[in-house]
């Protein structure tokens, strides 16, 4: 009897251990990739924090998003990013209809998880499943139940190619949700995955000893929760220009505190790695609904990264109507130097749009193409 009990307890503890330490399957980096065709002036529209819930009037919301994605120049963009918290207290029907709506636009779109997306009337895997089934979504997860060896769900990337020529990368990561009931950060294994994504198609197996500006193709990175560097950059801007929203080629309209993610158990920092590889030129985040920034961050390195708080793109939960809209990125095929002698790899525009307006013509709050 005692042996039986011992075996049972042993089996249970083993199950517990295997459950917590399995870490998932390692997949080839190719499994996380989608190829799309590059075109001159490729435009990416970043939509943040839609917060679609059981209280949302979906017809009204979709009518607004339909106008919003055209608010840059009256045309549909080449790519749409739903950058986290698209859903909050939603149900399966809302997810289905939202995916169907974005499919109906006929534009490839990406989805990243925010901290609220899994707080709905569905299993933790439902959104993952629907995004994988979607016709126009480029969302990738090599394991349909999310069991790869990379923490989080939405870690994948898009290669923009002209024939066989790789022009740009769009990288999407899961900034995770909570740790110790506070916001989580990007995990060490995700930083390693990011390195693999940058190295893919580069002709390098590992980071070369000397990385030049043109060693790797340029990339945009999107995830939901800002990193602590956002706070550093914003504080520095505010200290230097306390009365300005715009100074030279930087924009800083910050109306709430910065709730960045920190996890004391993580040793790797995504921004340090970005600066080592000199590929990613901007990080687009969401999460804080009334903060909009485009700040150049150097930190201890010499590779400037644009820290971009995109615009809240819906009337769900708290917002300010005058800064509700979308961020539009226009990717350049080769860099230019702006009037402040900074290298520019893409142009950025913040466009605000109201719910009740007839046309899709928005108000431009910030545009880098002016410099």
């Amino acid at each position: 009897m005692k042996t039986k009990q011992f075996v049972s307890i042993g089996a249970f503890v083993s199950l517990l251990c295997s459950c917590a330490t399995s870490g998932g399957v390692r997949y080839d980096i190719e499994e996380y990739k989608t190829d799309l065709e590059w075109k001159e002036g490729f435009t990416v529209c970043q939509l943040n924090d839609l917060h679609l819930s059981t209280l949302s009037n979906l017809d009204e919301e979709f009518e607004y998003y339909g106008k919003l994605v055209k608010a840059n120049d009256g045309k549909l963009p080449d790519f749409i990013v739903l950058n986290g918290d698209a859903f909050m207290d939603a149900n399966q029907r809302i997810v289905d209809r939202t995916v169907a709506f974005f499919d109906s636009l006929g534009v490839p779109f990406a989805f990243t998880y925010g901290n609220h997306d899994t707080q709905g009337f569905y299993s933790d895997n439902y959104i993952n499943k629907k995004m994988l089934e979607s016709e126009k979504s480029v969302y990738k997860n090599p394991n349909s139940q999310g069991r790869d060896d990379v923490f989080g769900n939405s870690n994948y990337f898009v290669n923009l190619k002209a024939g066989n020529d790789l022009k740009w990368k769009l990288i999407f990561m899961d900034s995770n949700s909570y740790y110790d009931w506070d916001y989580d950060a990007i995990h060490d294994d995700q930083v390693e995955w990011y390195e693999r994504a940058i190295l893919e198609s580069s002709g390098h197996d590992s980071k070369p000893a000397l990385v030049e500006d043109d060693t790797f193709v340029k990339s945009l990175l999107f995830f939901h929760i800002p990193t602590p560097e956002f706070e550093t950059a914003i504080t520095a801007f505010k200290n230097n220009y306390p009365d300005d929203k715009i100074n030279e080629d930087q924009y800083c309209d910050v109306r709430e505190s910065i709730s960045s993610g920190v996890n004391k158990h993580m040793n790797k920092n995504i921004i340090d790695t970005i600066q080592e590889y000199r590929s990613t030129v901007s990080i687009g985040v969401a999460h804080d609904h009334i903060n909009n920034t485009d700040l150049r961050y150097l930190g201890d390195g010499d590779w400037p990264v644009h820290l971009i708080y995109g615009m809240k793109s819906s009337q769900g939960i708290y917002h300010n109507k005058d800064i509700m809209g979308a961020a539009f990125y226009t990717l350049l095929s080769s860099k230019r130097v702006n009037s402040f002698t900074n290298d520019v790899y893409f142009d950025l525009k913040f466009v605000s749009l109201q719910y009740n307006q007839e046309s899709s013509e928005g108000v431009t709050l910030w545009s880098t193409s002016n410099y």
């Binding site: 199950l15 517990l16 917590a20 059981t54 979906l58 017809d59 029907r93 933790d124 139940q145």
Partner: protein, 322 residues
């Protein structure tokens, strides 16, 4: 002999009715509460849309509480008053909901009866539900008025008289028990979606803990207010068992957190959405406060009642000897 059979049948019917109502109330309370929460996060916007759903989903819980009170009330006059209260509340709620739904239909949905969003055939389902509630309310009201002669009746049916405060407390307890039972039932959704949570071994004790509250409610209701000593003794054994299971589950959860500190945020965000929204460890607090603490309180109560019952028995024996 016939009476005994009738008693057995009545008891069985009571168990079936209460079990079914508890299941319906659990699903409705959980879903209704979660539909109501966005009103807070949306700063009151959408109140007009959400309130009819909130109130409709609260009706099964209200019915369960009233029915339990009905079964525990000691005079026929009090039961008559409960009938009246139930009728008035259901008629008022259904009328309010129907007016609200008409406003929502006219103002937001262009008189389109099937919009979806909350449920696949919302708001048509809510309109139909409220018409049924209204019919039940009126039927109950007519029945109550027709039996006006019982209004002030003091005729008793041998039940233990429970104070109003305890009735209110029990109402809250039932509400929490149904919510968490509904939450545990909701966990089954993974199976329907063919999804096996990688943290399943760690998640199981949380769901079991949610179910514990309902089991505790049953022990409270069935045993604690029973005048029989044998039932009290059985209740005490039940409570000790429940307390042991609760502590075991709590330890299982805590050990689970040391194995994977992320499993709450990975697998239980929906269940502890309020805590995550407030960035407070309400999840663990809920499990400790609503599962372990009621077991301890129940244990103390059972011991006190049992002692009281023994004392009364001793006094009775002494009196008889004298």
């Amino acid at each position: 002999m016939v009476d005994e059979q009738l008693l057995k049948k009545t008891k069985a019917t009571k168990i079936v009715v209460f079990t079914l109502l508890f299941l319906v109330a659990s699903i409705a309370t959980f879903y209704g509460t979660r539909l109501t929460l966005p009103i807070i996060t949306h700063y009151g916007r959408g109140t007009l849309t959400a309130l009819p759903a909130t109130f409709t989903f609260a009706i099964p819980l209200f019915t369960l509480i009233v029915l339990w009170q009905y079964s525990q009330t000691d005079t026929i006059g009090k039961r008559w008053r409960l009938n009246l209260i139930y009728s008035i509340v259901t008629i008022t709620v259904a009328t309010f909901n129907l007016i609200d739904l008409m406003l929502v239909l006219g103002l937001l949905y262009d008189w389109n009866l099937i919009v979806g969003v909350m449920t696949p055939i919302y708001p048509l389902d809510l309109i139909l539900f409220n018409l049924i509630i209204l019919a039940v309310g009126f039927a109950s009201l007519f029945f109550t008025i027709a039996n006006k002669k019982f209004k002030g009746s003091l005729e008793t049916e041998g039940r233990v008289n429970i104070s109003r405060g305890k009735h209110v407390l029990a109402g809250f307890f039932i509400a929490f028990a149904t919510y968490f039972f509904g939450e545990a039932l909701f966990g089954v959704i993974d199976i329907f979606e063919g999804f096996v949570d990688p943290n399943i071994v760690l998640v199981i004790p949380v769901y079991l803990a949610f179910l514990m509250l309902a089991v505790e409610a049953v022990v409270y209701v069935v045993y604690l207010y029973s005048p029989k000593e044998s039932k009290l003794k059985r209740g005490l054994i039940g409570v000790i068992t429940l307390l042991s299971i609760s502590v075991l589950l709590f330890v299982w959860i805590v050990i689970g957190l040391t194995f994977n500190p992320y499993y709450f945020s990975e697998s239980l965000q929906q269940e502890f959405a309020i805590g995550y929204s407030l960035k407070m460890p309400i999840g663990l607090f809920i499990i400790a406060a609503w599962v372990v603490i009621p077991s301890i309180v129940a244990l103390i109560k059972f011991i006190l009642r049992l002692n009281k019952s023994k004392k009364e028995l001793k006094e009775l024996e002494q009196n008889e000897q004298e």
